[in-house]
């Protein structure tokens, strides 16, 4: 079996050659940021936006910062201007049922015109109606009607009074009504005078008074009827006068909106309301009590109240719009989406009317596109439900949340719902999309299309040019220095390092744009006009330095031997594994000592981490795989009569992942064979039951972690790391590591099988089964088999002697 060669320096880092670029700096590039490698997502966006059926709304999924919103906005910018401008919408007073304001649909730009026209109408009515009602014609007519009533009433009384007077009886007004009494010379008879009359005379008077009272009662019964008739006549007169005053103005208005039947219908009800309530337009004496309370109904306030009643509350004004609206709602609270009904406080009471209806993002985006961050939407109470309801019912119904949940008990409105025609685009993380898909049955009905954005771009010509354009666009937008091509190349290399894959570039635009801004800062400090590669490198180094406190503390403890990591000698049953730490946003690697001890037993491998519940399930699985490997390789002909224990030394927190399983196997093999392991190597890689070494994550950080320790102790040229061969494509190592490799002071070995690794680690061949099924005696495997045989024999003997003892 041939051993793997250490990797050449070229394999450790994929460089980006600045000479490949046709531009000298990003100033030479123009055009918007164009997302590359997102064809799948673009296809989905185009499909969702193009299909007109319900429920084909879009969920754009992918990690944050990958430019989903930018990409969608760019796409919409190409299609939205070509779409028709949607209608204007406004709310108007419902004169019959003020609690249910009516919605009016108008052609684009007409709502604000209507609003202005209505203000002008009210202004005109404030002049026209008072002048009509103060006209002599009206005054005379009204006076006539009232006097007619007075005359009618007075005539009736006068006739009765005359009739009474003929009988020497006076009609007298009492404080509460009327009464009849006998009189003499204009004065009522005194009681003694009356009593001095003879009985017949008294009875005659009493009879007469009784008749007069009956006649008076008949008149009394008539009076309310006459009053009613009089009021009806006055009302009729008022209506006629108001109608006369209002008609010409309304006719003019109706003429302007003749083609809009809904508006004409509203005008009809409006006209009737103005005529019925003409007295609102007449100037009134302010109520002194209201004046004291500061509620004066002065001319100004009166006009304000009138304007409110006849105002047009323009909810959507598309007068200046070209094409369909594209709205991004930054705070998708329920009321920001579907609108709200506000209240004003007056004398401690909350009041509202249709003018206090506020539109939401759904109103503004109606007929176009609405973008919402899914996470923010879900964080807002009831907002997601409100959005779904609107999409399901295809209408926007404004409901006051406070009212809905009885938080405020006051008069509120139920505005007429507005039909909804919209494409909603939710933007969010993948996990959110999958969770919604699983747990919300409505979601898949309403968001039928998913635009799955890639996390990575290919590290090819297109990808590199896309990066250059991104840098150029950020520089222009944020007014930063432009990058020379060397700096662009360095950013691209860093983009590849972020992905942990030398064939890919990160699509996480946020990280890239942050790096661009940070590099600009260092270029400015160096007083450079263009950002150079050195500035980018400084920004990367500074970023690492800012977050390296913990990493340095661990390394310091290692150098002081507080954490025991041997990088010089050879030890049996001991190996350097590599672990990744991720505090905050940055991750780093550091070696950890793994040890294995064996004793007589029943074939089990004890994972001490698992025993103390410090090992995660994947780690435990990796250890169990080791048992599988050992059993399959060494316990075909004899029982595995050992008990092995594995531990991550000096680990004080949990361990997770199976990337150390190959290292654990090497430690076990060393412990079983008694062959020491070279401690100047560190190992990473998982292993399967056949002994194949498999890929792991964070390979760059792990190598760099071991390199940093070795470098701090002094590179001997022996030190190196064994990595899975399948991880070679992921290598994008730091320049100091690559340089050390170039000088032969540090090595990386790609390993495909555990036998390769053990030979590299021990310098002793692993050993291959011969034809008779035995491993060569001097090989690691041979020594393991011998050891296992010895242990099995000891067990057998021990068991036999124990049985004899029992007998």
């Amino acid at each position: 079996m041939s051993l793997p060669e250490k990797l050449s320096p070229e394999k450790l880092y994929k460089t980006c050659n600045p000479g490949e670029f046709s531009f000298l700096s990003t100033a030479d590039l123009d055009g918007p940021i164009k997302a590359t490698g997102q064809d799948r997502a673009f296809e989905a966006i185009a499909f969702s936006m193009g299909i007109k059926h319900d429920g084909f709304n879009l969920f754009a999924l992918g990690p944050n910062g990958t430019g989903k919103q930018t990409a969608i906005m760019q796409f919409l910018a190409t299609i939205a201007p070509l779409a028709p401008v949607p209608s204007d919408w406004c709310y108007v007073n419902n004169f019959k049922h003020p609690r249910h304001p009516g919605a009016l649909k108008l052609p684009p730009g007409k709502a604000s015109t209507l609003s202005r026209d209505m203000e002008h109408l009210v202004e005109a009515l404030l002049t026209v109606i008072p002048s009509a009602f103060s006209s002599e014609e009206y005054q005379v007519e009204e006076k006539n009607i009232r006097e007619k009533f007075q005359e009618h009433q007075a005539e009736a009384f006068e006739d009765l009074e005359k009739k009474a007077a003929e009988q020497h009886i006076a009609l007298i007004r009492t404080p509460a009504g009327f009464a009849f009494a006998p009189e003499k010379n204009g004065e009522v008879l005194k009681p003694e005078e009356f009593m001095s009359l003879n009985k017949k005379e008294r009875e005659a008077i009493e009879k007469e008074i009784t008749n007069l009272k009956s006649a008076m009662q008949l008149i009394m019964v008539q009076i309310p009827k006459w009053q009613r008739e009089t009021q009806e006549k006055i009302n009729e007169l008022n209506r006629n006068i108001a109608n006369f005053a209002v008609k010409p103005l309304m006719a003019e208005l109706k003429n302007s909106y003749a083609s809009l039947s809904e508006v004409i219908e509203y005008f009809e009800t409006l006209e009737n309301d103005i005529i019925e309530n003409f007295d609102q337009f007449l100037e009134k004496e302010p109520d002194p009590r209201e004046m004291l309370l500061g509620l004066s109904t002065g001319k100004f306030q009166q006009k304000g109240a009138l304007l409110n009643r006849y105002r047009i509350n323009v909810i959507v004004d598309n007068s200046k719009r070209e094409g369909a609206p594209v709205v991004y709602e930054d705070k998708p609270a329920c009321q920001n989406l579907v609108g709200d009904i506000e209240h004003i406080s007056q004398m401690g009471t909350l009041l509202t009317d249709f003018t206090l209806i506020k539109p939401g993002a759904l109103h503004r985006a109606n007929g176009g596109y609405l973008l919402i961050d899914a996470r923010r939407l879900l964080l807002e109470p009831l907002a997601y439900e409100a959005l779904k309801k609107a999409l399901r019912t295809r209408q926007i119904r404004i409901e006051s949340l406070a009212q809905l949940y009885s938080l405020v008990s006051t008069v509120s409105l139920e505005p007429e719902p507005i039909p909804l025609d919209i494409k909603v685009i939710l933007i969010g993380e993948r996990q959110l999309y999958y969770l919604l898909n699983v747990y919300d049955p409505d979601f898949s009905e309403l968001f039928k299309v998913a635009a799955d954005f890639e996390d990575e771009l290919p590290f090819d010509g297109d990808g590199k040019l896309a990066y250059a354009r991104i840098i150029s666009a950020i520089a222009k937008t944020d007014k930063l220095r432009h990058f020379d091509r060397g700096a662009v190349a360095r950013v691209i290399e860093h983009g590849s390092r972020i992905t942990g894959d030398s064939t890919k570039l990160s699509a996480h635009l946020q990280s890239i744009s942050d790096l661009v801004r940070e590099a600009d800062y260092y270029a400015a400090s160096a007083k450079r006009k263009l950002v150079k590669a050195a500035d980018v490198q400084k920004a990367i180094d500074a970023r690492v330095l800012r977050s390296s406190r913990i990493q340095e503390k661990i390394r310091e403890a290692t150098l002081k031997n507080a954490i025991l990591i041997d990088t010089e000698s050879e030890k049996v049953g001991q190996i350097n594994g590599l672990a990744i730490y991720s505090p905050g946003g940055q991750s780093f690697g550091h070696p950890g000592r793994i040890t294995a001890r064996v004793r007589l037993g029943k074939g089990e491998v004890i994972d001490i981490e698992r025993e103390v519940e410090m090992g995660g399930p994947i780690h435990s699985k990796g250890v169990l795989i080791l048992s599988g490997f050992l059993g399959a390789r060494f316990a075909i002909d004899q029982p595995l009569s050992l008990s092995a224990s594995l531990v991550f030394e000096q680990s004080y927190s949990g361990v997770e992942g199976d990337s150390a399983s190959s290292a654990e196997l090497y430690a076990l093999l060393s412990a079983l064979s008694g062959v020491p392991i070279r401690q100047w190597f560190a190992v990473t890689g998982s292993v399967n039951q056949f002994g194949q070494v498999q890929a792991i994550g964070g390979v760059n950080e792990k190598i760099e972690g071991f390199f940093d320790l070795c470098n701090a102790r002094g590179l001997s040229g022996k030190q190196g790391v064994l990595i899975p061969a399948s991880n070679v494509d992921n290598l994008m190592l730091r320049s100091d590591v690559v340089n050390a490799a170039k000088k032969g002071r540090f090595s990386i070995y790609p390993v495909t099988h555990i036998d390769e690794g053990i030979e590299l680690l021990t310098g002793v061949p692993a050993g291959v089964l011969d034809k008779s099924g035995n491993y060569p005696p001097g090989s690691v495997n041979g020594m393991v088999v011998a050891k296992l045989k010895e242990m099995a024999e000891k067990i057998r003997k021990f068991t036999a002697s124990s049985s004899d003892d029992e007998d």
Binding site: T174, A176, G177, F180, I209, Q217
Partner: protein, 284 residues
């Protein structure tokens, strides 16, 4: 021609004004007009409320019943209840007086007396320089013309007398004065001038036998220094009967009419005019 009262004495025309109060709309109009005049003249104001003796007599009669607007059957009048009701009316009248006098910032007094209304009002007004009363009171049938108290005051020659009606304030519109060169009309003109508010227009209706004579009077008046600062409009009418005059005045639709019954016109015609004309009238 000389005016009887020189303008510098206008302000002392009325020192004591008496107004008859009975809580009717006419009496409220009278109260407002009286208070405004009192303010203008720096006069004091006396409100008089008469508890109608006829009411109390009637209450004591066995056959007396009250018919109310919203009560189905007539009810026996309870004397005590009546006393209370009349007292409440008096209180109401007093508080109206208090309010209106307060608004006009004039001194006032209030008197309540019991007796026959007409007699008591006229007797109370003996000490006053001006009696202000509504064209009609609370009597049920006086839709037009004068009520009994006003009729009696007019008949007994009590002067000056201001008859008010609701709806037309005394100071609304121009003042119309009847002038025929007689002593009485000079007094009317002087009084009208004394009552004029700033920038108020004075309409002078000249009653003369011929148009030439009428123009002559106009010329004389317009040259009179007393009228120098007044915006006066002259109208001319031959003195005919009261009906014609009434029609003319109605057509002119002025505000308060000031006239005298000691003019060349027969006293009865003047009284007829006062009775029929449904305007605020000041008879001097």
């Amino acid at each position: 021609m000389k005016l009887l009262i020189p303008p510098e004495e206008h302000t002392i025309l009325f020192r004591h004004i008496t107004v008859a109060l009975d809580c009717s709309p006419h009496s409220l109009a009278s109260l407002t007009a009286a208070a405004e005049l009192a303010r203008k003249m720096h006069a004091d104001l006396t409100g008089i409320f008469v508890e109608d003796i006829n009411l109390f007599r009637m209450a004591e009669l066995p056959c007396s019943h009250e018919i109310r607007m919203y009560t189905p059957e007539p009810e026996k009048i309870d004397t005590l209840q009546l006393e209370r009701s009349v007292k409440i009316q008096a209180k109401k009248a007093e508080s109206s007086l208090q309010r209106v006098a307060g608004e006009c910032n004039v001194e006032y007094s209030f008197r309540v007396c019991r007796g026959v209304v007409t007699g008591e009002v006229i007797a109370a007004a003996l000490e006053a320089d001006l009696l202000v009363l509504g064209r009609s009171g609370r009597s049920p049938s006086c839709r037009k013309g004068l009520g009994s108290t006003a009729r009696k005051a007019l008949a007994e020659g009590k002067k000056p007398l201001l008859f008010m009606r609701p709806g037309i304030p005394a100071k609304a519109g121009p003042i119309l004065v009847l002038y025929d060169g007689s002593e009485g009309s000079n007094l009317a003109l002087s009084t009208a001038l004394a009552l004029m508010e700033k920038e108020q227009i004075l309409h002078i209706l000249i009653l003369a036998e011929s148009y030439e004579k009428s123009l002559g009077i106009e010329r004389e008046l317009s040259q009179n220094r007393v009228l120098a600062d007044t915006v006066a409009e002259y109208h001319h009418l031959p003195p005919k009967n009261g009906k014609t005059l009434e029609r003319y005045i109605r057509m002119a639709a002025s505000g308060m009419l000031v006239l005298s019954d000691s003019m060349n016109l027969p006293r009865e015609s003047v009284h007829e005019l006062v009775r029929e004309l449904d305007y605020p009238v000041l008879l001097v």
